[in-house]
Amino acid sequence: MLRDITLGQYFPGHSPVHRMDPRTKILLTIGYIVVLFIAEGVAAYAAVLVFLGTAMVVSRINPKVAMKGMKPLIFVIVVTAILNLFYTQGDELFSFWIFTITKQGLVTAIFMVVRIILLITGTFLLTYTTSPILLTDGIERLLTPLKRIKVPAHELAMMMTIALRFIPTLIEETDKIMSAQKARGADFESGNIFQRAKALVPLLVPLFISAFRRADELAVAMECRCYRGGEGRTRLRVLRFSRVDAYGAAAFVLLVAAVVLFDLFGIGVIS
């Protein structure tokens, strides 16, 4: 049921990608997304694919598992493909009834699908190989310079950590309350949209109350463990750039160079 969500899941491991500093990985992912949007031709896409493929192999993430994470997004991908396929003007390849498929449409659709898949797989690789706690740690530290302009970096990171920690707990709780109300004859599955919305009240009220109770208890527990905000806090993990970060950065520089060159000289661009 609700529990089978792989999206954004972390797979523990000790590969070089796992060991890479989360700050590097976050910056590389942002850079990767930018590159993906400036890439134009087949050659540029191939370069991105090689980069991602290498990262996947090095990270030792099972490609099957990675594909599974894509499942909830298949719908988005298919819709994008269809829209591009039918709504791009250009040289007609063939047509039937009111639909016309053009060469440009076909090319754009293929590129769009590849782009989305590369985008999703790339960002997933970040969450697959970085524990949520390191991810928030990385974000916190990347945002630290912004503390001067009053960006609450530590508080944001702490909120993310707690949210991540409690998502599975609350999902489980939703399941439980739903079953309990079903046992009292509640019907979540039939009726029109208004009836369905109304049927959610017996689920949402207890869920909210429970979430607030948990928040309350957690706050006390945190106080008991001497929590007093980000001031004077040390961390279990020290983030340190190491050789793997340098390798990662170097690989990325190569990617940027390749994509820019291919774009500039129009290598592999289908017109």
């Binding site: 046992a183 009292r184 004859g185 019907d187 017996p202 207890p206």
Partner: protein, 291 residues
């Protein structure tokens, strides 16, 4: 005729995934009308999965569940009706309360049955009195009540559906001895007044021994043992080797037997142990013990 019966019931979670887990493996058991049965077992032994099958919240992967000798999944649209006849009280049921008033919350189940307003009132009053909730509390918000009271309100919410079988998943979890006795004795009273069958899921062998006529012990997705408390506790050693506790008094009697005292080692209440020991002493010595 049994009111609830399951035959070779099998349930597998996450079928076809790496997390596949068999929670129930060909489980068969039956419950008679008006019977008080206790279901015992470790966490993960399949108890919770089993009870969710009995009112059709889960669908069997194999085997079948019969209510009144009718397969509850025969008529798919009727499964919801089974939930009104087989009342299921989940663990920590107080967390499911949501209405503005206690009365309205208790009425939620009966209302879903489509009952008329007068009937609802009648049932709410009746259910509240069964669990010992005063009528003046019915107008209060459930969140103003104490934890123990909230739990009883939640149980009343199920009782108000007048189920023919009442299933309770650890209704005394987290309560102190006074709260525990209050709830269990109310359930026993409810059953003797209405003739409803009761299935009590519990970790406490002491509670099971005290209230149930029959025990069903689950272990590793199977029914491990079933029978009267005397029958089950006569196999105390098997229970212990499966890592299940037996009542402390039973362990005392087992040890006494080893020490050569002629007492039934399957004794499971203090009263019974006292009776046997008194008779033994008086019978043998014919007078005051150790005088």
């Amino acid at each position: 005729m049994s009111i609830l019966r399951c035959e070779n019931l099998t349930h597998i979670y996450g079928k076809g995934t790496p997390f596949e887990h068999v929670a129930l493996d060909s489980v068969s058991f039956a419950m008679e009308r008006g019977e008080f049965v206790a279901l015992i077992g470790h966490t993960g032994s399949g108890k919770s999965t089993l009870i969710q099958h009995l009112n059709g919240l889960l669908k069997p992967d194999g085997g079948a569940v019969y209510f009144d000798e009718k397969n509850i999944w025969d008529e798919k649209s009727d499964v919801r009706k089974v939930r009104f006849k087989v009342g299921l009280v989940f663990q920590y049921p107080e967390y499911q309360l949501f209405e503005e008033t206690v009365g309205k919350d208790i009425a939620f189940g009966p209302k879903n049955m489509g009952l008329a307003e007068d009937e609802l009132k009648e049932r709410v009053r009746e259910a509240a009195s069964f669990v010992g909730i005063d009528e003046e509390l019915l107008e209060k918000s459930p969140f103003e009540l104490s934890g123990g009271q909230r739990r009883r309100v939640a149980i009343a919410g199920i009782i108000a559906m007048r189920p023919e079988a009442l299933i309770l998943d650890e209704p005394t979890a987290g309560l102190d001895p006074r709260g525990r006795d209050e709830i269990l004795s109310r359930i026993a009273e409810y059953r003797s007044n209405t003739g409803s069958a009761v299935l009590l899921v519990t970790h406490s062998m002491e509670d099971a021994a005290r209230y149930a006529e029959r025990l069903v012990v689950m272990n590793g997705a199977h029914v491990f043992m079933q029978g009267t408390p005397a029958e089950v506790f006569s196999r105390a050693e098997e229970l212990q080797s499966a890592g299940l506790a037996v009542p402390q008094i039973t362990r005392v009697c087992m040890r006494l037997r080893e020490l050569g005292v002629d007492i039934d080692p399957a004794t499971y209440t203090v009263e019974e142990a006292v009776r046997q020991l008194t008779r033994l002493k008086n019978g043998a010595a014919g007078g005051v013990p150790n005088a």
